[in-house]
């Protein structure tokens, strides 16, 4: 119950960093930093292990030394090697295409709906908001059977639209919900002021509102992209060799021996997939947390 003894934070909050300078040793402070250390280890340790293994020689796959040993780049070469039927490089490209198009479509439709939800009063507004939230919690498995049958019948399995269309089902509600939250916090009065100063509505939108909305739009796009990038269930059923995204490629990664998992190569592939995500997360950490808590994004 160390977490419950928050004796100092309130005091520290009010006094700000001024009191921190002379502050001496306190048990509560120690407990905070121990807790912080535990959480950071929680978040980073397994991911760290993936990266360490990715750089470890395949002969030492199960070496349990906690720091990098037998460092090599071979695993990354194996990850991109196509001789065993793995097409990881292509899969990266497929995932980018699917993610970008899904995000673009979701943003294009979602931005208008979110604007209406955030700015305008109309009948059925809360019903719509609730419906969109419900849609974002929708189990993808309820879509996959009819879509699988339909796409098989019309020959769409192994096409991009067979993945992009179902991805809209979660990307669009997500986009709308997060954007609505961002739009509500915008200083819309400025739009009015711009109009009074002689801007047309379009000018007010382009010159005043758009620059202010850009960070929120950008964060929403990142979150929608991550959701599409991480999707596995629909892709595992509806993709083919020409559209297979990275999540499916990694799950199906083949080793040189049947029934023998190529752990180090898979960890290398995983590292490649995760690095851009981690960079985005680090760069936009604050905005992403705001978007996440507004949208209740699934991982």
């Amino acid at each position: 119950m160390a977490a419950t003894t928050t004796a100092t934070p309130q005091a520290a909050e009010q006094a700000g960093p001024v009191t921190r300078a002379p502050s001496r040793f306190s048990w509560s402070g120690v407990r905070t930093y121990v807790g912080v250390a535990i959480i950071i280890i929680w978040g980073l340790a397994p991911a760290y292990w993936m990266v360490v293994t990715a750089f470890r020689d395949v002969g030492f796959t199960f070496d349990t030394t906690l720091y990098p040993t037998h460092v090599t780049l071979d695993n990354f070469r194996t990850a991109f090697d196509t001789s065993l039927g793995n097409h990881f490089g292509l899969a990266l490209l497929h995932s980018v295409i699917i993610g970008v198009v899904t995000t673009a479509l979701a943003m294009a439709a979602g931005v208008f709906c979110a604007y209406a939800l955030a700015r305008l009063e109309f009948r059925g507004k809360y019903l719509l908001l609730g419906g969109i939230l419900g849609a974002s919690m929708f189990p993808p498995v309820a879509l996959v059977t009819p879509l699988f049958q339909l796409f098989t019948n019309i020959g769409w399995i192994n096409t991009y639209q067979a993945l992009i269309i179902p991805d809209i089902s979660f990307a669009l509600p997500l986009t709308i919900y997060i954007l609505t939250a961002f739009f509500r916090e915008m200083p819309w009065d400025l739009e009015e002021s711009a109009r009074i100063d002689g801007c047309t509505q379009w000018q007010a939108f382009r010159l005043v509102i758009l620059p202010l909305a850009a960070p929120g739009l950008f964060t929403t796009a990142i979150l929608a992209f991550i959701a599409a990038w991480n999707e596995f269930l629909l892709a595992s059923q509806l993709s083919g060799p020409a559209t297979q995204p990275v999540t499916v490629a990694i799950a199906d990664f083949q080793g040189s021996q049947p029934h023998q998992e190529p752990y180090t190569a898979v960890m290398a592939a995983g590292t490649i997939v995760v690095v851009p995500l981690v960079i985005m997360v680090l760069a936009f950490q604050k905005k992403i947390v705001a978007g996440l808590t507004a949208g209740g994004v699934k991982g």
């Binding site: 928050t6 004796a7 934070p9 929680w42 719509l128 309820a142 669009l172 995983g270 997360v281």
Partner: protein, 342 residues
């Protein structure tokens, strides 16, 4: 969408406020609502509405296949509720044309195992995540140097795709892996019924607790400090403050977080599908409802449609109970958080 885009730049009307309400083009007066929401509604009707309705229709059709009694190929046709009883009562078509209990190994006999696994994962994971999430959130709520680092660290498990997470934990839980090394055990994690379930729960709790903590943190941040100050002046202990102030005031946010996570675990697929392939124990110890649907798809669309409909209705009912009886009011809670944050 493109029509709507052009409407934004549409007429810079002269200032005639009394006429604006009629215009479909003037966004700031509420006139353009139908056009603003139409693209969304049309898209959602296509990508969610159509498949759901189609699945329900399919679920009342027979799967074409070989008739065991005659050996002849039978076309589909109306099935009544037989696809549903196949799952709920584990009834299969008997040789004579009647029904019989599905033999072991038939997917129909796995329904209740899958239901148990899904509910078990949900209850255990969410219970652990409430406790850990609350603890994480209370630590993150304190003031200290490096809050940015902490939040970034917390987002990493969330950002890693579940498919990669599953492979990562598959490696960690390998026989020669680091889990057995640290614990000094020699467990075949993904083989036993309970060890494989444990592996799934551990991996999923690792991935989603940070998210839970962030949602709870949003609720903690709107509790005014003076409430704590007053309680402290009145001599309330830290424990009393937690139980009598923090818990009741954070409850709305907590309920929302729990609702999100419950609905999320009820549809769990990626992790058990990759980490244990639904196996463990006698072969279905980590098969969830979603995995069972996917297993069924290539054996018969219509039967799979019935199972996915059951899954959907079940999840819907759980959500309904949460919102109706447990007071998980997502929209109101998040509105309050927004206002509190300003």
């Amino acid at each position: 969408m493109s029509e709507a885009a052009t409407d934004v730049q549409a007429p810079p009307e002269p200032q005639k406020p009394q006429r604006r309400r009629k215009s479909w083009f003037n966004l700031s007066e509420g006139g353009g609502v139908p056009m603003l929401v139409a693209p969304t509604l049309i898209l959602l009707a296509i990508v969610i509405g159509y498949p759901v309705v189609r699945a329900v229709i399919m679920s009342f059709q027979k799967d074409p296949g070989l008739d065991k009694a005659t050996g002849l190929f039978v076309a589909g046709g109306p099935a009544g509720f037989s696809n549903y009883t196949h799952w709920l009562l584990a009834q299969c078509v008997a040789a004579g044309g009647g029904t019989t209990t599905c033999p072991a190994g038939n997917l129909g006999s796995q329904f209740w195992t899958a239901m148990f696994n899904t509910v078990f994962f949900t209850v255990v994971e969410v219970a652990i995540e409430i406790v850990l999430g609350l603890w994480f959130a209370m630590i993150m709520h304190r003031k200290f140097h490096g809050r940015g680092l902490l939040r970034a660290a917390v987002l990493i498990p969330w950002a890693i795709p579940t498919a990669v997470t599953a492979k990562l934990w598959y490696f960690i839980f390998a026989y020669d892996g680091i889990a057995n090394h640290i614990l000094h055990t020699h467990i075949l994690w993904t083989a036993g019924a309970w060890s494989s379930r444990f592996a799934i729960i551990f991996a999923d709790v690792w991935k989603t607790t940070p998210f839970m903590a962030l949602l709870i943190l949003a609720g903690l941040q709107i509790i005014p400090d003076d409430v704590y100050e007053a309680a402290k002046v009145d001599g309330a202990s830290a424990w009393q403050r937690f139980v009598q102030i923090t818990l009741p005031l954070v409850r709305p946010a907590l309920m929302v977080a729990v609702l999100f996570r419950v609905l999320d675990v009820l549809r769990i697929y990626d992790l058990p599908a990759i980490l244990t392939n639904g196996g463990g124990g006698s072969g279905d110890a980590t098969t969830t409802l979603s995995i069972l649907v996917i297993d069924q798809i290539r054996q018969g669309f219509n039967s799979a449609a019935a199972l996915s409909t059951i899954t959907f209705v079940f999840i819907f009912l759980v959500a309904f109970v949460f919102v109706k009886f447990l007071g998980a009011n997502v929209i109101e809670t998040q509105e309050a958080e927004r206002k509190g944050a300003n």
